[in-house]
Symmetry: C2
Subunit: 437 residues, 2 copies
């Protein structure tokens, strides 16, 4: 694709959209961009309310017009690139699909759209080979992880991608660890500070990470993974006690999205590669770089044959980090460098819901003689070997928590063991089980 002047139609002009506009139209930056061969301009902005003041410092009515009609952009032949920053899925899908069908390049930050409609987008792009599709901002805000996975692993084989990809929950977990605060208190604080939504489910229940790891799994392994098929556990059951036990293990707890190659494709039988993908709080050793990422920062760690382990760390959200990633897609487009295969070559993949790990199992009981014997028996029945038992000093004999860690076990076996343990009369709730990394 040769270099081209980009006439951009921008959908959405909120935090990120406004940031992109400012980065593109600021005269000093414009000069710098021109110097690297980038000629791009927002010609039209589509917003619900054209009368609302967007506070754009570099807005000029001579260059940019506001509209509230999608068609005003999608049917404008001078516009050759649509930047979708509206959020949501339904309208955004109409816009993005409409733009591709109209032969316009697309840049989007919409992780839910990309994750949930990845096969349809891939298909549409195959039908419109001149259209380029950028989505660097959809995963891990300011970290250039999409471009890196697109370009830096072609002669390598990725075996695992694991990341902290939600700043809100990482902030909450860091706070719980550092200050021993309870989950409810730290959630309220995050809401008061505007980090967490009034309805925090997308963050704390792991759905945000679910979309992101689905996208990274496609880039890492080539196969489409439906977000809904990814076993997803959020952080709402993590308590201050879990951090105490993690500390005894010289570890902390991080909400991770993980995609892991279990078995490569078998050339002889033609069996496709087996990959497991999950979202869960994970017990991570302090010596692991993942444990050192606190606050709203994100990290993506990639394990591969040639590089062993590489990590990419940066801001996971925010106006300018996310806008910068959108800009990097726009710059690639304008310079003619955008990849032809934004989702990499399709490779068949079998999603395996079960995986092996050491597990951390926290059990809450109302005292009870012979507890360890019972738990040991159920572990044996479930085919799970116990590695260690941790017990902090007991304060309240009617409400005792202790932790069992397992040898390498299948998730399904640990789950089955926990269900059996939950049925014991002196056990208060289903045990919490987390993989240990």
């Amino acid at each position: 694709m040769p270099r081209a002047k980009l006439n951009i139609g921008l959908f959405g002009c909120g935090t990120v959209g406004g940031g992109v506009f400012e980065l593109l139209h600021n005269p000093a930056r414009r000069q710098k961009l021109a110097a690297v061969g980038v000629d791009a301009l927002v010609s039209k902005i589509c917003v619900q309310n054209v009368a609302k003041d967007r506070g754009l410092r570099h807005f000029s009515a001579a260059e940019t017009t506001l509209t509230s009609s999608y068609r005003d952009i999608l049917e404008d032949p001078r516009i050759n690139c649509v930047v979708e920053l509206m959020g949501g899925v339904d309208d955004a899908k109409d816009v993005v699909f409409g733009a591709i069908r109209a032969g316009k390049h697309v840049v989007t930050a919409n992780k839910a759209l990309v994750a949930n409609f990845l096969p349809e987008i891939e298909q549409l792009l195959a039908e419109h080979p001149d259209v380029r599709f950028g989505y660097e901002a959809a995963v891990a805000g300011g970290i250039p992880i999409i471009h890196t996975l697109q370009g830096a692993y072609d002669s390598d084989t990725i075996t695992e991608i694991a990341g902290i990809m939600n700043g809100t929950t990482n902030y909450m977990l860091s706070k719980m660890e550092a200050e021993g605060v309870a989950y409810d208190a730290v959630l309220k604080e995050a809401q008061d500070l505007g980090f967490a939504e009034a309805n925090p489910s997308a963050d704390v229940d792991g759905y945000d990470v679910q979309s992101k790891i689905a996208i990274l799994a496609k880039l890492g392994f080539g196969g489409v993974v439906k977000p809904a098929d990814i076993p997803t556990v959020g952080i709402s059951r993590i308590s201050a006690a879990d951090f105490e036990y993690a500390k005894m293990m010289d570890s902390t707890i991080k909400l991770l999205g993980v995609a892991k190659l279990l078995k490569p494709a078998d050339e002889k039988t033609g069996a496709p590669q087996e990959v497991t993908v999950y979202v869960s709080p994970v017990v991570v050793k302090h010596s692991n770089v993942i444990a050192s990422i606190s606050g709203a920062t994100n990290l993506v760690n990639v394990r591969s044959d040639n590089l062993d382990s590489s990590a990419y760390v940066g801001p996971g959200a925010g106006r300018f980090p996310t806008a910068n990633s959108v800009m990097n897609d726009i710059i690639q487009l304008a310079r003619g460098d955008a990849p032809l295969d934004p989702f990499k070559t399709p490779v068949p993949l079998t999603l395996q819901p079960d995986y092996e790990a050491h597990f951390y199992v926290r059990i809450t009981i109302t005292d009870g003689l012979g507890v360890i014997r019972h738990v040991g028996q159920l572990a044996e029945e479930s085919g799970v070997s116990i590695y260690s038992i941790l017990q902090a000093p007991i304060v309240d004999r009617a409400n005792v928590q202790f932790v069992v860690t397992t040898e390498t076990s299948l998730l399904s076996k640990v789950r089955s063991m926990c269900q059996k343990i939950a049925a014991l009369p002196f056990v208060q709730e289903e045990p919490l089980y987390l993989p240990i990394m």
Copy 2:
């Protein structure tokens, strides 16, 4: 640049060269590369001794010939790409410059060559606009930091690049911290293990990092920085005691290359940007991600306006990590994606040898009454404000070490203070002074 079949002339077939050959010629990988549009092959290998067995598993005399003559490659019109992995500077320079002059693309891992001849290479490339130049492997082994700095910061402004870019010294410092081992012992161990050279100067005296930070400074700020102009301090004076004092400060010590924007260009006066570049052991807080990187791993941390802080972590050396970076350059070339401006647009730059920081100053004395008063007086005379004084329990009164930390001070003032302190009768040696990050 359109996609093209690459006929590669490989110079050097040792650890990295052999790794590149295997990655390119392994049939399974070759198939994967073909799938992403990469058609590349090593047609000729230039080595000193063509008779020596290189242990190349996928070598075929039908595809590749060995030669000991540079001209055999440089004068072969079918070869359109030279991959230089010989090391050293003199011969490598002849090869690389000869290749560019002959209109062949160049990929090299040679940091000393790139750092020391950067203006000449930039000039040559300007004279040969069809030649592309890749050097991803020259800095931080397997970390894709060159491509990232080339492509991910065009709409951003970088304010600081700081990195752990020498695995040998990071291994040594990590070991000293973890086990309280003395410098000499850990150096001997690193030599016995083959991590450190018999003559370890390039590593322990910081010259290796000096070349690398010179290259990153060019990519970050656009201006050429001569390696010889970079104030460079190695790790040979770091002692187990320094790690004890760092621990009191909840910190550790890392050998960093740092390039930092002190003052942006002044549009009114036309004064160029002021940048400081140095190599030094630095006292780094444990909460900083830089402190969490132990062993032979490398890290590059980039501070910028849009992203605040981003870090890239990975293996700093080794056969396949380095070969993988060389491959990424080859893949860019073969796909026609190699950047036209591999060193970014030239921007004038004034190198400022002085910079401000808090400093750590370790003073060794033979006891002495009134030491603190004397030191305080010399600090005052030098215009340095003392922030804290740390003193571990004294074991040997004839050989006492203590640490002074300063308020934000200019390096030149701290140096002058240390020279004055060194002249005091009860002071044993010139104080060690390190910036605190």
